[in-house]
Symmetry: C2
Subunit: 239 residues, 2 copies
């Protein structure tokens, strides 16, 4: 059940059988949610964290006008609201963009597990730092990259992240977001996001159809995006 999550961890460091058992014992139940639903709402008191087994979720924040900003996208294997473990309520909503399977991890179990496995505590702390690093890269994108470069960057990021869990085939991966949702990631209007998609197509950089992207020219796309994956900290290491 946690195979993708474990694979993700094992890309970064070694996980012993003992540790693996401890992680597997965290899950109290599995919850299914439909697409376009709020999984967790800002402010809600949290007594458990969620680990995404399957599907796409995102962190979203809204303005009074209804304008929405997506601050991070999550894919299978991501421990989506580890933040809630420390914060006890979130400053943002967690929304499902596709039908999702989520593992429920009671904070109590997480606490006991971290006491027994301080090394895992560090790894999970580390993972929350990765979220912050992703946020910073998105800040750079929103503040300084052009719309086109920013969109290119998004496709690059998701590509490496999917690649990490072995879900890129021939440069292509599942991409179920609508252009409206892409626009909400990039701080653009739907109309302009659409024009940027077309421009990336016109330049022969990507194909986007049937809820799938294919990157046709990695080097040029990455150059356009000024993409440097080091902010994802994929280098293997000890904890």
């Amino acid at each position: 059940m946690l195979s993708v999550h474990l694979r993700m961890l094992r890309q970064r460091t070694s996980i012993s059988v003992d540790e693996q058992r401890a992680i597997e014992a965290l899950v109290s139940e599995v919850r299914n949610v439909r697409a376009d639903q709020a999984v967790i709402r800002a402010g809600e008191t949290l007594t458990f964290s969620l680990l995404l087994l399957d599907g796409w979720t995102a962190r979203t924040k809204d303005l009074a006008s209804g304008d929405r900003q997506i601050s991070e996208l999550h894919i299978s294997g991501d421990f989506v609201d580890l933040h809630g473990f420390m914060l006890k309520h979130l400053d943002h909503d967690l929304r499902a963009f596709t039908p999702c399977r989520l593992a429920v991890v009671p904070h109590e179990r997480l606490e006991r597990m971290l006491e027994k496995h301080p090394r895992l505590a560090r790894i999970y702390w580390f993972l929350t730092n990765i979220d912050a690093a992703i946020h910073r890269e998105w800040l750079l994108s929103l503040g300084q990259r052009s719309a086109l470069s920013h969109m290119a960057h998004l496709f690059c990021e998701m590509c490496v992240r999917f690649d990490q869990i072995g879900m890129v085939e021939d440069g292509a991966y599942a991409f179920p977001l609508t252009q409206r949702e892409v626009a909400e990631c990039l701080g653009l209007t739907t109309v302009h996001a659409n024009r940027m998609v077309q421009e990336l197509r016109r330049r022969g950089l990507i194909e986007l159809a049937n809820r799938r992207v294919k990157i046709l020219d990695h080097p040029r796309l990455e150059a356009l995006a000024e993409f440097d994956p080091r902010y994802l900290y994929f280098d293997r290491r000890e904890f």
Copy 2:
């Protein structure tokens, strides 16, 4: 020496004398840096973390063009690169905007301290989550707020944060950033940032001069910014 940091922590939760001693024992030395210097560069291997005793620093990321984005501002008492403790190198630069005094905390000491004081471990993990929460609010600002509202938001955020450490007098606090640096926070050009400053002045919302801001009309400034301080998680609680 760590009085501001301890005051910050004690706003959020109780810190025992024992814990206070453990925190104070972290510091191996104090380092002084001049204004406009890089304190830590992206990629540098880190064996210590820095705690800002006095001054202003910021996290910055640059594009090849030289365009710079500031992703977070730090004030006295902030544990500025706790992230580096887990990440071992940063994805961004840490720059001093004023002359700064920084406490050096070797990772070794931090590790031993966290083993002995698991409660402090949680508090510091929590603090890195706060950084992420601030990043998310800035993402919302960059993506969805107008330049004017965004700038108003920045002044609101710094006001509450300074207030937490008792450094707001009569609605006014130290604000040593140049308009260029403000522009780098907001993803704007200096020219436009200047026009927004003037607009805030014209509306009677702020005074900005001599490296100090004074907020003249909190309610209207916060309304303009749609400022809701909950993302800073200032509510007191147990760990």
